[in-house]
Amino acid sequence: MSGPDAMHDEMPGFFPGRPGGERDEPLLDMIFDRRPLPPGAPPEIHDLARMLAVVAGPAEPEELAGEASALAAFTRLASPVGISPAALRPARRWLSGRPARAKLPLAAALVTAAAGLGSIAAAYVDVLPGPIQKVAHVTVGAPLPESGRPQGPPAVTNVQASATHALGNSSAQPTPSVARTSIPSSANHQQSRPEQSGRPASGAPTCTPRPSPPPTQAKPRPSPSPLVPGAPGWNPRSPGAPGCLGIPAKNAVPRTTR
């Protein structure tokens, strides 16, 4: 190294294909090891070192934009009881700061399920419009609508057939329903729903719990469901009620926090 360009002269072939191209390896290793280059190194190597110093340089503001989300996820996830896979999934989204692509279908499915459960619950408390209540009576064993309730002994009538037809299931077998068993009289039915006169005509279900029907109105079902009013585990607020999708708040799984 007799001068500033000595090393360049010693390694005339920095690039592949040039004579002596492999002799640049010590300089390249110096770049990797972040050691200062000798002044006589070729200008291409100095340029290269400067370029890589930029890549290894300090953080740019946008690169730390997710810090708050990361800390929140850390607080949420760093639990002495461990981390469940279910907790990891949303955390990944929080960290990435992007909307979850799968949220829309999930929300649609939840809304559909909630609407279905709400409709069933509404049918059981007899708040649906008459024709719909008849369909519910046939399909899920809900009480007959007040206007269509027979006074005498019950029988499977054309209500069932028309409901089946309306559902587009003309080949379906008659559903074992309350019509084959005991249907309370109209008087008893009225007595069991004292608030009926004040209910909205639309029959929209609400989150307000309705009193359970008296035992005489209990309708036998092949398989008791928690969706049935009065059944064990039935939550009157849950079906179709916003924020009440079957999990009472007191039973909600608490988040693990520090």
Binding site: P16, V55, A59, A70, F74, L95
Partner: protein, 182 residues
């Protein structure tokens, strides 16, 4: 972080949010830059990486170098998982264009450094053959030793060294053409 890493890591394991923040700020920029070269969705992969790091933090044993190697190993696996899931979807080209055509003043090293755009350099590195680009990012950006890089990418240290040298030579060739350097 140097010698303080052990203490910071212990505090993070104990749930100290500030300590975890130190680790995050130290590693996240390099992690993102590495992922920008090897993955089309670096933010998503980085998020998944950090979640897994938090999940396994309590069981980690080692120094700062080992921690970085562990974290970048996770990142590489998550990026590979993302690549497999993207196999049936159209790919999105890496968009790192920006100021590659910025005028460069070579009078001083400082001015030259300012003129070189981070995004332009990352774009240039990403244009290398994938194995060379990844090795350069792990060696230069993540600051890992050849042995660690070899373990991460599943090659011998010698193969890593060769790929790194070839990548740097190629970068030196490309840089003037791309306007990143004079």
């Amino acid at each position: 972080m140097g010698g303080a890493f052990g203490d910071i890591l212990a505090r993070a394991k104990a749930g100290d949010e500030a300590a975890f923040g130190c680790i995050f700020r130290d590693v996240q920029p390099t992690l993102l830059r590495y992922l920008r070269v090897i993955a089309p969705d670096p933010e998503d992969v980085a998020g998944e990486t950090w979640v897994q790091v938090v999940a396994g933090l309590d069981g980690f044993r080692g120094d700062e170098q080992a921690f970085r190697a562990w974290l970048f190993t996770i990142a590489r696996h998550r990026a590979a998982d993302g690549g497999r899931s993207r196999a049936r979807r159209p790919t999105v080209p890496l968009e790192l264009s920006g100021s590659a055509e910025q005028p460069v003043s070579a009078d001083t090293a400082d001015l030259a450094l300012e003129a070189v755009s981070l995004r332009a350099v990352l774009k240039l590195v990403a244009s290398l053959p994938p194995d060379q680009a990844e090795v350069i990012m792990l060696r230069v950006v993540a600051g890992l030793e050849s042995a660690d890089v070899a373990r991460i990418v599943g090659k011998t240290p010698g193969a890593v060294r060769v790929a790194a040298h070839r990548g740097l030579r190629r970068l030196a060739e490309l840089a003037p053409r791309a306007g990143v350097t004079q």
